[in-house]
Every structure is written in structure tokens, then in C-alpha cells.
Symmetry: C2
Subunit: 307 residues, 2 copies
């Protein structure tokens, strides 16, 4: 029986000034998913490892994404998806995006790769929408493509892979506090001051320039978010202290990963990333909050076959 | 008697999605300024050619900029600035910025270049402020540095020169209608929808990526302004038709130059730029509005010595 196994990486969306458009891919943190043919049409979900997740395909992110792909192909093939969930749901590092990206990547491979990886993004977005209510690409795009991606437009969808400097590492700390995505969304405002918006796009333009020129100092100065971080960070206990600790450890910049509660810091080199993670961890140690740490190069590759 | 002559280029600020942060420099359209020492301290302004401009240094953009520079140097040197104004004031292609940039560049040269060109930007901004009320850098920065520049931050001031693709040309048409900068400013709103702001910074990030990767098609798709253009373009008769004509001629994108009434179009190659300028000109021919056309490579150099 043919079996395909896929690594589905965690991702950091937003990246300070890039709210709703930027995302980056971690190299080593992620889920595993296994794919088999089955004789009857449709998708079957098996949770092999991890938290209790729905197994009805229409209630499961991977199921919805895989079904969208099969529908587009008008395929009556059947697929079993076995999930080893390692990314904690609700952590803010793209847990549902990893499932959605992995599902479409694996099913596409199983069926002989009729779609390019870029073309898989809309199907993964359909899966993501089950979890967040709206189809977003800022996690699924870097999960599928790797690296750092920018969503230029949703209508039509256009995702641009950006250049990633060689020494760029990310430290992520997940303080294990509950923070609902709906709460993170509800603090956002529908209007924003023009002055702040101008500063935000000035920083975003500078960040993109810094990536191409591998200017780490400029990259650090550009990691500013005057619009969303002030609204969301009060929902994360210890945020200010953790961010200060990251910057004091030599991180280029730090912010909320996705809609939180995870906090990311971009760093030049692995050693600074390790020190940064340790420093942020010490803050939550004092607060007696359990954490999970992820230290990773910004991955050059996204979702991929592992066997 | 020592004489220094300087070419002070015209500039296009904003560039669609880059409102208040982006600007680019024209290669051949600009003013001439000549600088001489004088025996008594202070600045003397002579208008050698062009429209009637104030000659009192404190009422003249070049005078204010030059005075700011001399003050910073605590210099009691005296300078005569002779202006050949060729860029029409109020055209939207950085007429006052050219005067401000030229003044600080020339005086700096005359005094043995104590400042780098980057360091001259704040003094030129002081001159610009006389004309627009607020110190802006989106015209003076590209006028001084050449190329395409991005203002990341005003506090502290940080201007980033971006990569300019080799074949990038700009066609500018100045329909000779009166449009006060104050009117262009008054239509702007202090608040902007978050959705539109996100689309704007998505486009700006894509535009910066397109510059570095020399991806002309992406550059064209990124030249979208959903925030300012809809408010300002109704102030410019014929705008929609001129923009449509530019795009139909193969321009990558088109928008309002600065606060108008000039309209710019970015093009790949000189031939398309010429055709684009002619097509826009035909629109204003039908409307019986006199025009001035400027076709130029995006300049790699800014304000410079010419003798």
C-alpha cells in the first residue's frame, strides 16, 4: 500500500509591521501527516497523535482542505489522512495552517502532483477558513512555500516569496496561557490613523528592502508595529518584559506571533536566537507560566515529503 | 571668483502605494543653481530665470534651506544663490524640493563639503517646510540621493535608497491647471480603513520586492493606491482618461505625481515611456488643456555639480 509522509512546518504570521500580509516558515517545528489511498471516494481522518481533534472531514481543517482539492480535480479518489499533531492548537504559530498545508500537499503528491505548490495555496486557505472564519494566506503560504512570503493581493490571490538572509534565525516562545483567536480579533479596530498607517508601510517597505540587501540592522529597526501590537499585547501577560528581554539579548526585533500568545524574535545567527529564547523563558519562569520554545533557522523549504 | 553650478532634478513623490514614503528622481528635468561666496555673512537670493519668487532668504525655499545649513555649521560665511527655475511651481514634481536640495548641496560644496549628501536631507527638509507647511522628505530625499528612496522614519530620520531596475523609465505629464497643495491636502482623511491600509502595505511590500528582483510585471501590479488616489484624482480633470491611456500604451502603472496635478507613469524602456507620454498628451489635447511632458530614465544620481 502506497504511503506518503509529509512534514508540515509551523509558521509565524504578521512579523510586526506586516500584519495580515507577511509570514515566515520554521525549519524544524511541525506536524507529521501520512497519506494512503482508500477504495471509496472522499477523505478519512485519523488522529494518530496529539490533542483531540474532530475526525469528521467537514469539521477538520485537513479534511476541508483535502476535500477542496479533490473537488477542484473532480476526483473520485479516496484518501486516508493520518495526523501526528505536534504544534499545539491556539499557540499562534500556525497549527491549523500546518494541517491545511500538509493535507493539500500530501493529497496532491498522492495523486501525482497535478498542481504546483503555489497553486495549492487556495485549497489550504479553504481549510484555514474553518479554523479562523476567514480564508487567510499569511500562515498557509509560508507553510507551503517556506521562507518569508508576502500576500500582495487576495483578489486575485498573489503570494510573493521574498529573499531570506542566510543568517536569519527565529526564536519563538509559547507561554501556555489560553488566548482565543476571537479575542485577538475583537480588539482590532476597523479604522486606523493615517499617520500610523504611513509609518507602518514605511517600516514594511524598509523590512522588505532589508531582506534583499541582507541588512540585519535595518531589518531590526523595521520590526515595529504601531497598529496591532499595542492592542493585542495587553492580552499576553509578560509580553513587554519578554520583548525587552529578547532585545537585551541581541535580537533584531520581537513581536506577537500571529494572533498570539506566542512571541517571536528575529535574530542574526543561532547563538543569539538561543540566548534570546532563554532570556524570554526566564521571564515566564518568574511568572510561573509553562512555556514551549522553538529555535529555528528561517526555513528555505516549506511542507515537504519525508519518506 | 569661485562659482559652483548645480543641477537640481525634479522628483515624483508617493508613487501610488507609497504615499508619503516613496519618491523617485528624474534624470533630465530640473533647475540650475549657481553659488558664489560673498564678503558679508548670510544668504542672498537672485532669481536669474523663471517665475517671480521671493528673494528675501527667509521667504525663499532655497534661502531657508541654505540658512539652516549655515546655522548648523555656525558659519559666518556668506553665499549668493542664483536660481534658474525651470520646474514650474505647483506642478507636483518637486519644484520646491529641487530648490531646497540644490541650495544645501551647492552651499555644502562651496564650503568644502563638511556634510555627506545623506546628512543634507534635514536642511533641505527645513526649506521644503516653508512651501508645504510640514517638513517632508519624500521629494528632497530622491532629489538629493537620486534613484528611488523610501522614508522609513522621521524620528529619527531614516531614508533608504532602493534598488532601481535598469530599464525603468518615467513619463510625466503636467496638465497646466491650478491645483493648490492645500486643496490636495484638505481632501485627505485622518482615518483610513484597516482593510485598505493592509492592501496598501501589501502592495508597497510587493513594489519594493519587484524593484530588487527587477520584476517589471509585479512592479506594475503593485502600483495601486486605494487610499489617496480616489480622494485626489477628482481634483484633476481628465485624470481617469489619462491613466487609462497610459496603461493602454503599455505603461506598468500610473498615478498622481506628488499632490498633483502632474500624472506619472512608470514604463519598461524609453520607447514605451514616449508612447505613454504621447497618449496622455492626446487626452489633454482633446480637453484643450496645455501640458508639459517629461520623459526620463529613473535617475541613478540626484543633485549634482555641472561645472
Amino acid at each position: 500500500m502506497e504511503k506518503i509522509s509529509v512534514f508540515c512546518p509551523a509558521t509565524v504570521a504578521n512579523i510586526s509591521c506586516g500584519f495580515d500580509v507577511l509570514g515566515l516558515c520554521l525549519d524544524t517545528t511541525g506536524d507529521l501527516m501520512h497519506f494512503y489511498h482508500k477504495d471509496t471516494p472522499g477523505v478519512e481522518i485519523i488522529i494518530k497523535h496529539g490533542p483531540k481533534l474532530p475526525t469528521l472531514p467537514e469539521e477538520n481543517v485537513a479534511g476541508v482542505a483535502a476535500t477542496a482539492l479533490l473537488k477542484a480535480l473532480r476526483s473520485d479518489k479516496g484518501v486516508i489522512i493520518e495526523i501526528e499533531k505536534k504544534i499545539k492548537p491556539g499557540s499562534g504559530i500556525g497549527s491549523s495552517a500546518a494541517s491545511a498545508a500538509g493535507a493539500v500537499y500530501g493529497v496532491n503528491q498522492l495523486l501525482g502532483a497535478p498542481f504546483s505548490t503555489q497553486e495549492l495555496i487556495p485549497f489550504a486557505m479553504a481549510g484555514e477558513a474553518l479554523s479562523s472564519g476567514v480564508p487567510h494566506a499569511d500562515n498557509v503560504a509560508p507553510a507551503l512555500l517556506g521562507g518569508i512570503t508576502l500576500v500582495r493581493s487576495y483578489d486575485p490571490l498573489e503570494v510573493i516569496p521574498l529573499h531570506v538572509p542566510e543568517e536569519l534565525f527565529v526564536a519563538v516562545i509559547h507561554p501556555q496561557i489560553e488566548l482565543k483567536t476571537s479575542d485577538s480579533r475583537s480588539v482590532l479596530k476597523q479604522q486606523v490613523s493615517m499617520k500610523k498607517a504611513i509609518r507602518q508601510w514605511g517600516n514594511l517597505g524598509a523590512l522588505v528592502s532589508a531582506l534583499y540587501t541582507e541588512n540585519y540592522d535595518l531589518l531590526g529597526r523595521s520590526l515595529v508595529d504601531e497598529i496591532v501590537e499595542p492592542l493585542r499585547s495587553p492580552l499576553i501577560p509578560g509580553y513587554k518584559k519578554a520583548k525587552s528581554a529578547a532585545l537585551a539579548s541581541g535580537a533584531l526585533g520581537s513581536g506577537i506571533s500571529g494572533s498570539g500568545p506566542s512571541i517571536f524574535a528575529l535574530c542574526r545567527g543561532e547563538e543569539i536566537a538561543k540566548n534570546t529564547a532563554a532570556a524570554m523563558n526566564a521571564v515566564y519562569g518568574e511568572l510561573k507560566v509553562a512555556t514551549e520554545l522553538h529555535i529555528s533557522k528561517v526555513a528555505s523549504r516549506g511542507t515537504r515529503l519525508i519518506s
